[in-house]
Assembly symmetry: C2
Homo-oligomer: 403 residues x 2
């Protein structure tokens, strides 16, 4: 059967996280590996009300086939919310509903990538995006992500040296995996670099609403670049289980192509879920709801940072996110977070090693830690276990360097 | 921007049906074009009960991220139902939930097709499948579909002459677009032909439960062929709006690859919808529900056939389906159903012309007619309009042949 399979699927890496999640079912294990939003973000009671209201109000429309781009009313709501938040001039025609943002990544790969076309990613980048794009056999270029955003010199160089680049994929707010955000200046600089180029810019922004420190910044490309695409989702603010995301672009020709690809991929996203989310958003105070999530995540992030200050050896550095769900720890050179993983599992604490966030990197000295799905005491205990492990690893690493 | 797009998306045809549906919004138009199930098939009251029950019972699990293959309980239900109906020995591990059957088609394209790999389709075949597979640039071979099923001689010849065939895509029950079904003998013959071959067989069966005449027949490949895949869905029996379909295969290695492709495509299907459908199916008498749909469709099919006998010129032949949602009319040679379409639109009756169901065929003398979404009086009136149009076209065609 092997020879029946496409080269494409042989090249598509299964997700490391999802494999971890399968093995880490022991309830004694403290998991910082997943990317699960805290269940506090699911407004169950209000959604239940909306379920009854939409069936009563829209009846069979909630259950019938529907149009590919998605429910116009919901798309208009999204357009208006982004207009208000970012001073844009979108209408429902600039919004297309996807089956979660993961589908948006797949559709973007579909409509842009021929074999060996270039795709620029942050270094490190979101592994789900690497997985989605990999299906279409691009050539990946990773540009260093710094405390301020993309390394613009490296970006310019990469663009200069390669004429095959189709798009740049960036997560400007509380990036997955690092938790880093692009500064206002960096956003401007990146925009200036791209202005004269025939290249699309994908800004994936699942966490943008979850800023618990500092001020909201404008997108790099939205409202400014011709081939700008912004990805959004309700997964982190309402529910991920409903698989409801959206693509926003002022470029209707791009959206038309994404729509053809979507039609071929799943016809349309669950229309009941679209009515439901739209009804929920228009009948409730979403800002108050989001502020609850942010308050919790802020507390959890602080708990993790405080525990790291207490328990982590000083040779380990880590990011201090202003929002989102993750932070990123960098170990001394020579220590592989991947090799450390089985030991961590023994101590019943898990994280995601850096490797899957890079292209062709093995034994990276970095790890992603999620803080949104454990209470503060559990976070303290988990970081303590991890800290002890790291101390041992550093001693071992030093002695191996000497010997 | 054009040069930013992939060859793939340039080669993917937008759906003719979906374009029609957009133009045919005039409520005066009688549409036999769509493939919409009758809203009678949506058990709204019962689904509303299930919505309340699952939120109460499973809480945040209905709203959180979930596993790629789908809710094990729902998959086990599907396995047991197919075991009972077809004497198979499936477990939940043989079932993977998809975002509607359209996604299954996309995933199958993804895991099998390299550029120029061969795909065998029925002639004519389902346009949504042609669209999904086209994204992966296969070479299509169409094997004639007869009153009894596939033309086995042609099938053997196609297999003999081409060593690049990856899979055969077939709709053995009440085929879309023709309404034809494979006979018991034809199923056996096709199975025998494929037994020694390293080729996958995809049996797409969205309408199998909607048999209103004759006896249920076994699948061609399920339980018999190593690389057999059966596609199913609740779209025609419960709701299409929830985008819930499934892939069934005894070949777990095939399912594992489909699962990796699905993970990269949308992580997992709406988990709330899976709880909902599963709860509905296990708390209600689904057989009684389906029997109501069948009774209605039988009446509607009869109404259409009777109207055709009354109004269609005798030169036009048509299929007599034993179930499903469509029938297929064949016009005298030389009459293009596509060219006739604007005239039909003027008379306010629409259908799908044959062309999009074929590979590289223009001006086919055939059309697909759907009977499930109009009442019997409307069907009579629509077929009358169409009959008059066909009579005129035949007269015109004859005079053009003479002149």
């Amino acid at each position: 059967m092997e020879n029946l399979l496409s080269d494409r699927i042989k090249k598509t890496p299964p997700s490391f996280i999802r494999s971890i999640l399968k093995t880490a079912v022991d309830p004694q294990i403290i998991s910082f590996a997943g990317g699960l939003p805290n269940p506090i973000s699911f407004p169950q009671e209000e959604l239940l009300e909306s379920m009854q209201r939409i069936v009563k109000t829209y009846g069979s429309k909630c259950f019938q086939y529907s149009i590919t781009a998605g429910l116009p009313e919901f798309r208009q709501y999204v357009a208006e919310r982004y207009n208000k938040r970012f001073n844009l001039s979108l209408t429902y025609e600039n919004v297309l509903i996807t089956t979660g943002s993961q589908q948006a990544l797949d559709l973007i790969g579909k409509i842009f990538i021929n074999e060996n076309d270039g795709v620029i990613l942050e270094k490190p980048s979101y592994l789900g995006a690497i997985q989605a794009f990999s299906q279409y056999s691009p050539k990946f270029y990773q540009v260093e992500l710094t405390e301020n955003g993309l390394n613009t010199q490296q970006l310019e160089q990469t663009l200069e040296n390669n004429d095959n680049i189709k798009f740049i994929y960036a997560i400007p707010n509380f990036q997955n995996p690092t938790g880093l955000s692009y500064s206002a200046q960096n956003r401007k600089d990146v925009c200036d670099i791209l202005k004269s180029k025939n290249i699309a810019l994908i800004e994936d922004d699942p966490y943008g609403e979850l800023r618990f420190e500092g001020e909201q910044l404008p997108y790099i490309g939205a409202g400014k670049l011709e081939n700008s695409i912004v990805l959004g989702t309700v997964s982190k603010t309402v529910t991920p289980g409903m698989r409801t995301g959206f693509v926003i672009s002022e470029n209707k020709e791009l959206l038309r192509n994404i729509s053809v690809a979507k039609e071929a991929s799943d016809l349309h996203s669950n229309i009941y879920a679209q009515y439901l989310i739209w009804d929920y958003l228009t009948h409730n105070d979403i800002e108050t709801h989001i502020s609850k999530i942010k308050a919790l995540y802020k507390k959890q992030a602080q708990a993790m940072l405080e525990a790291m200050a207490k328990y982590f050896p000083e040779e380990v550095t880590y990011t201090k996110p202003q929002g989102g769900m993750f932070l990123w720890a960098t170990l001394p050179e020579g220590i592989s977070a991947m090799k450390l993983f089985p030991k961590a599992l023994e101590k019943r604490v898990v994280y995601v090693p850096g490797d899957p966030f890079y292209i062709n990197v093995k034994d990276a000295n970095s790890m992603r830690l999620n803080y949104t799905n454990a209470d503060c005491e559990t976070i303290d205990e988990g970081i303590k276990r991890l800290g002890n492990l790291l101390k041992d690893a550093i001693v071992e690493n030093k002695s191996s360097l000497i010997s």
